[in-house]
């Protein structure tokens, strides 16, 4: 029998390996490119006035996005206040009270699906439920829209983290006469706190950079957020409005806002990832 030469196969193998390395480098290259562009343009826009004062008039220079920074922080906080407790309790129910039931399977399935629903649809929903009946855009509606994005993420991580707690711990708490709710909050939550925190941080990171759900709910505003019952300034919708404007000063401000968003979101992501690694 004649031997087929091995070199074409080896050459193909080497070619594929090189191509795969190039593809990975390409992905990382785009990451570096985007970060570099945002950091370079953004750093040029940043100064103390930018962080603390109100925006300039259209076409004017100077001014800042202090109101938008505050508004984004407030609505993200609101999203946590609404979304985290509800999400955690939902996760507790799935993990502790209804394991294996059809109800739990359905809720878990729908929570997974809900995470994949486009955020603009959530914005549309909150618009129809809160903004239309009340007759005006509001920071509350923006917070609720973001909370609906936080909820499924927190619910799923809570369930997963509780499921990883050794059963012996649960049983010992119950055997000592602790009611199930106290065992859950005092013992199981404490055992899985790093994981729970990771879930919350990831959800906050995801939500604080969201734009689409705020477009129809919080809208935007050139003023300080005095109350959350009117249109509320926020960084992401400001980026959208300013980037689409013809004024160079506003486009510059949009880069500054992008800088703040990118640094904030990536810091949250990295911190939560580090927490996860320590746990392992």
């Amino acid at each position: 029998m004649r031997r087929r030469p091995a070199w074409p196969r080896k050459a193909l193998d080497a070619a594929v390996k090189v191509a795969s390395a190039l593809a990975a480098a390409l992905g990382l290259g785009f990451l570096a490119w985007i970060l570099f562009v945002v950091l370079r343009h953004g750093a040029a826009a940043l100064n103390w006035t930018f962080l603390t004062s109100l925006p300039s008039a259209p076409g004017g220079s100077g001014g800042g996005l202090g109101n938008a920074i505050l508004g984004t922080a407030l609505m993200t906080l609101l999203a946590c206040v609404f979304g985290v407790p509800i999400g955690m309790l939902a996760g507790v129910y799935l993990a502790e009270y209804s394991r294996g039931t059809r109800f739990a399977t359905t809720v878990r399935f729908l929570a997974n699906v809900m995470m994949g629903i486009p955020s603009i649809i959530i914005g549309l929903f909150v618009y129809a439920v809160l903004v239309l009946p009340s007759g005006h855009f509001s920071g509350w509606a923006g917070g609720v829209a973001l909370a609906l994005l936080v909820l499924p993420v927190v619910a799923r991580t809570t369930e997963d983290m509780l499921a990883m707690v050794p059963n012996a711990l649960r049983e010992s708490a119950l055997a000592l006469g602790s009611p199930h709710w106290r065992a859950t909050l005092r013992i199981l939550f404490r055992a899985s706190r790093a994981g729970l925190l990771t879930g919350v941080l990831l959800a906050v990171a995801r939500v604080s950079g969201e734009t689409a759900p705020l477009l129809f709910t919080a809208l935007n505003s050139p003023y300080w957020p005095r109350s959350l019952s009117g249109p509320t300034a926020n960084l992401t919708v400001t980026i959208f409005n300013y980037a689409m404007s013809p004024y160079p000063a506003w486009q510059q401000a949009a880069w500054g806002a992008s800088f703040i968003i990118v640094v904030g979101v990536l810091a949250l992501t990295v911190v939560s990832r580090t927490l996860t690694r320590e746990r392992k």
């Binding site: 594929v16 390996k17 992905g27 985007i34 809720v107 994949g116 649809i121 129809f216 980026i239 968003i261």
Partner: protein
């Protein structure tokens, strides 16, 4: 009955906690059902007026109150197809690099970097796409493509930079980390015995990947592609920045267009007429139903796979 030291109070607290937890879990069901009902209710004006024809009418005339979804659906499909054509092979190759080619010390940071791509908010991709990628496309990439491919209608028209092709490119970059993550996990799950059998027969890394790993992990790859597809279809801000926002259906990749999500983002707050608003909500309803179907299929597919993997191992 055993006398309880604390009377009935602990039982009441337990009951309350359990009820609250049940209500919160049920809330997920309520929201998902509510999404569908509310969107359907708010689009009834448009549904009554245009019927099924809304889906294939290319009209979009706010002045005469005549609306159709065709151009938005076309732009959504076109940009998503471009994104998937680029992202799927690239993700497969990157996953191959992470699992089979790179040494673990290199694979971990690279994998981390690719995952960070998923952490960058959509609007940042939009800024980069509009101010960096689009000018580059207009001055360099698109004229070069026109020189190479000549007068094909696919590459006709002025190279403006923004348009369907640029939207597809940005989308590809955005869904890349999601598909890569799934495929990487699928590749890593292939039992070493299977691969070693291949190597033992003298196969190269590429041959083992193509004939063993991909074959074994095909179903998982399909699931990952579905997840990426769901992301790409509903992606809003990045697409809105670079697609051009024009209600038309053109054969050229360079033409501007719109997607369902970009139409909503652009026009919703301007829509003053009830029918206009209702037509936009109906667009949202279409997007919701489509992503819901894709998500449900992807989740069912992946959970079934996980169960199979669990029972065989």
């Amino acid at each position: 009955m055993v006398r309880r030291a604390h009377g009935r109070a602990p039982l009441v607290a337990e009951g309350l906690f359990r009820a609250a937890a049940f209500a919160c879990a049920g809330f997920v069901l309520v929201v998902m059902a509510g999404l569908f009902v509310v969107l359907l209710y708010r689009s009834r004006l448009s549904i009554d007026r245009f019927g099924w024809g809304f889906l294939w009418s290319a009209a979009w005339d706010p002045v005469r109150d005549n609306f159709g979804a065709a151009s938005s659906i076309f732009g959504t499909v076109a940009s998503t197809v471009i994104a998937m054509v680029i992202a799927v092979p690239l993700s497969l190759v990157i996953a191959l690099f992470l699992v089979e080619v790179a040494p673990p010390r290199l694979a971990r940071p690279v994998s981390y970097g690719i995952e960070l791509l998923a952490g960058i908010p959509s609007i940042i991709y939009g800024m980069w796409g509009l101010f960096v990628l689009a000018p580059l496309m207009a001055t360099n990439v698109q004229p070069a493509m026109q020189r190479v491919f000549g007068k094909l209608p696919l590459f006709a028209g002025p190279p403006m930079g923004i348009g369907i092709l640029t939207a597809g490119l940005v989308l590809a970059l955005m869904v890349l980390p999601f598909i890569t993550a799934v495929v990487r996990d699928v590749f890593a799950l292939v039992p070493p015995v299977m691969k070693e059998a291949g190597y033992g027969l003298g196969a190269t890394t590429w041959e083992v990947t193509r004939k063993v790993t991909v074959g074994y992990g095909m179903k998982g790859i399909v699931g990952g592609v579905f997840l990426g597809l769901g992301r790409a279809i509903g992606e809003t801000m990045a697409v809105t920045f670079v697609i051009g926002n024009d209600h038309r259906i053109a054969a050229s990749l360079f033409a501007s267009g719109n997607s369902i999500a970009s139409t909503l983002a652009n026009e919703f707050t301007e829509a003053s007429e009830p029918v206009y608003l209702s037509a936009l909500v109906e667009l949202g309803l279409i997007l919701f139903v489509v992503t819901l179907v894709i998500q449900v299929l992807a989740q069912l597919w992946l959970t079934r796979l996980a169960r199979q993997a669990g029972s065989t191992s």
